[in-house]
Amino acid sequence: MNEQLDELYRDIIMDHYRNPRGKRKLDKIDIRNEGKNPVCGDEIEMQVELEDDKVKDIHVGCMGCAISVSSGSILAEMVKGKSLSEVKKIAETVKALLRGEPVPDGVDVGDLEVLEGIKQFPVRVKCALLSWTTLVDALESHEKGKDVTLSTTE
């Protein structure tokens, strides 16, 4: 009875949900963005500190379901020390996993693998994507010298 459910809420996801990484707010903030899925009510506040165009530190403050919180937590764990193009590639990997498509070469999937179970729950895919879209939007806008204030996956 719990098999499909356990695929969605794997232990690692529940661990990230209960103890989300990246909770600490940053003192030095280079980029800031918010992610909102108004229909769900999921909300993310994101702060990024850069060093040599790489993510030095990140704060992910997420109010939402287990899927969006844990995905944001996995993000916080994975993107430190990564450049924009590397972050983009990881985000592409997340999308591919969620859609059941082959993942791009050269990405260490790591904890991301646990997101795979979500593909059986199509309405929850946007929950898992919110933090990634919020970060990619923020980094891209920063690169182009533009401001971004809000991202969504709905």
């Binding site: 719990n2 459910l5 769900c40 287990a66």
Partner: protein, 421 residues
Amino acid sequence: MDTITTSKKEHKQLDPMILRDDFPILNRKINGKDLIYLDNAATTQKPWSVIESLRRYYEYQNANVHRGLHTLAEEATSAFENTREKVAQFIGGVKTEEIIYTRGTTEAINLVAYSWGRKNIKEGDRIVLTEMEHHANLVPWIVLAKETGAELRYIPIDVDGMLQMDNLDQIIAPDTKLVSVTHMSNVLGTINPVKELAERAHAQGALMLVDGAQSVPHLQVNVKDIDADFYAFSAHKMLGPTGVGILYGKEEILENMEPFNYGGEMISEVRFDHADWNSLPWKFEAGTPNIADAVAFAPALDYLNDLGMEAVREHEKEITAYALRRLSELKYLRVFGPTDVKHRGGAVSFIDREIHPHDLATFLDSRGIAVRAGHHCAQPLAKRLGVVSTARASFYIYNTMEEVDKLVEALKEARRYFCNE
């Protein structure tokens, strides 16, 4: 308000266990479990008679209405108009000229905002709504107010989710042109005193529109007794097919309104440079209507008439009272809306303080239980309640106390699953 009297008058009892046989979908298994359908405020399931009627219409009667001179066209027209008569009777015995077919409650309200609103609402006029409105009775007025420079005012709710009626004179002030209020909240279940509000509106020369999407399926509604100028509701929330809504409007008001859509059916005479409008109700029904679904709405009304709306309401009060009592045993839940079932219907919204409503809904689904999670198309209300989304169980005639028990057990199980309890 609740129209049920507490006299000793006998009324029919409704037995959900017997009714369930009439609803084929209730035999479905969801994730290996018996379906427990608790999303009736979104849409209800359909009895065999409605499903059969749809099939029969296409098998035997299908033709366009009001135009043809052949047998099928006459039969289709007569079936289509027969539903209109039943609807007119169902809401208190009004004229068929006052019953307009729409796609649903949303379109019915948009029709009023467009045809009546754009002619009658001017800068500085006031439109009064409440804090518990569905987006369908919110967005059309927000847009109209933006276009015209009219002002929107909201009757606030109290902690129990009832309207605060004490400061009404300030809100329904002399500039008010329209008061538009839900009869029953789709989030809180609250039954609003629409009769009293209509009186207050009329005292200021304003019209009264009632959003009856949640009330007509669950209460005996008499639009004449309420003295509503407009009353809107949907077939699919009361056993009928999707895609059919009803706008009731007082004849003299509808007469003075311009059409909503232009084209065939709504005209009496067309020249190259001029057109005259058809009489009521067809003036508002341009184009080929949703004939099959309107025809299949009739057996839904018959079904409810056979049960008796008093019995429908009684069953709902019983199951809602039971659900409120059982849910209140779970201390980690916050349950919204009035606690006394006299003032509410069977839409029960709640949150678990630790589990997000979407996780809860996914978990309940794994147990075969269908509930809604989200803001229920009432974002300003959610904000007012201090939440972004809630879970909602909403009951109808075929729901049983055992299903409530299963919901409660599943909510306890969710705690063990998500919170290691």
